[in-house]
């Protein structure tokens, strides 16, 4: 059962445009949603995260929008740069400290100069 879904699978934007990456989940007990950025040949790194008590989280050019009722969230990358080209994973976690993070399939982002 795939509990976290991401779309699109791949996305290409021009430098300076806003990239929008989507994520949805099924389990209503999930209350923590981190996004990880992974460059080829490297391990993923935490980019930005949001808890279910917020509907928006901003960090520089990266913003998460969260809709708890629809169980959807999106990552907006404004003024996209070629260095943002990477795979982005949405994940969802539960309320306990040993909850297993469930990862989506990832969105491969390419930013064209």
């Amino acid at each position: 059962q795939q509990q976290v879904r991401q779309s699109p699978q791949s996305l290409t934007v021009w430098e300076g445009e806003t990239a929008i990456l989507n994520c949805s989940y099924e389990d209503s007990t999930f209350n923590y949603f981190p996004w990880y950025q992974q460059f080829p040949g490297e391990g993923p790194a935490l980019l930005i995260s949001i808890s279910s008590v917020s509907d928006k989280k901003e960090d520089g050019r990266f913003t998460i929008f969260f809709n708890k009722r629809e169980k959807k969230l999106s990552l907006h990358i404004t003024d996209s740069q070629p260095g943002d080209s990477a795979t982005y994973f949405c994940a969802a976690g539960g309320p306990s400290s040993f909850s297993k993070l469930v990862f989506g399939q990832g969105t491969s982002l390419s930013v064209v100069p």
Binding site: G41, P44, S49, F89, K100
Partner: protein, 114 residues
């Protein structure tokens, strides 16, 4: 600052041969440790986790085993590799704070089974 080191960086192994991958965490006492597997272009699948020395929990069955011989060391192994074991293996530690658990990944080991 915490550092996580994985070894080797890459391995090419034959089907049926044994495997041992390692991970060391420095700068963090008694960390929660994890092994993840990632197929090429795929998602991250948690394999094992450990909250203390000598204790390892299996999440999925992939004919792999894990051990935690020291507080800062996590080992992934198998006696007989399968073609399906090919992929990217990631060790991670987690930090619990602010009501959430954050994972920090190592740089991974690329395994090719021929």
């Amino acid at each position: 600052a915490q550092t996580i080191h994985q070894w080797p960086v890459a391995e090419i192994k034959a089907v049926g041969s044994p495997l041992s991958l390692g991970c060391t965490i420095k700068g963090k006492s008694s960390p929660n440790l994890y092994w993840y597997w990632q197929a090429t272009g795929g998602t991250l699948q948690q394999l094992f986790y450990s909250i203390t020395v000598g204790q390892v929990e299996s999440v999925v069955q992939l004919n792999l085993s894990a051990s935690r011989p020291k507080d800062d060391q996590f080992i992934l192994s198998t006696e007989k590799l399968l073609l399906s074991h090919s992929g990217f293996y990631l060790c991670a530690w987690s930090f619990w704070g602010g009501g959430a658990e954050t994972l920090y990944f190592g740089s991974g080991t690329r395994l090719t089974v021929l």
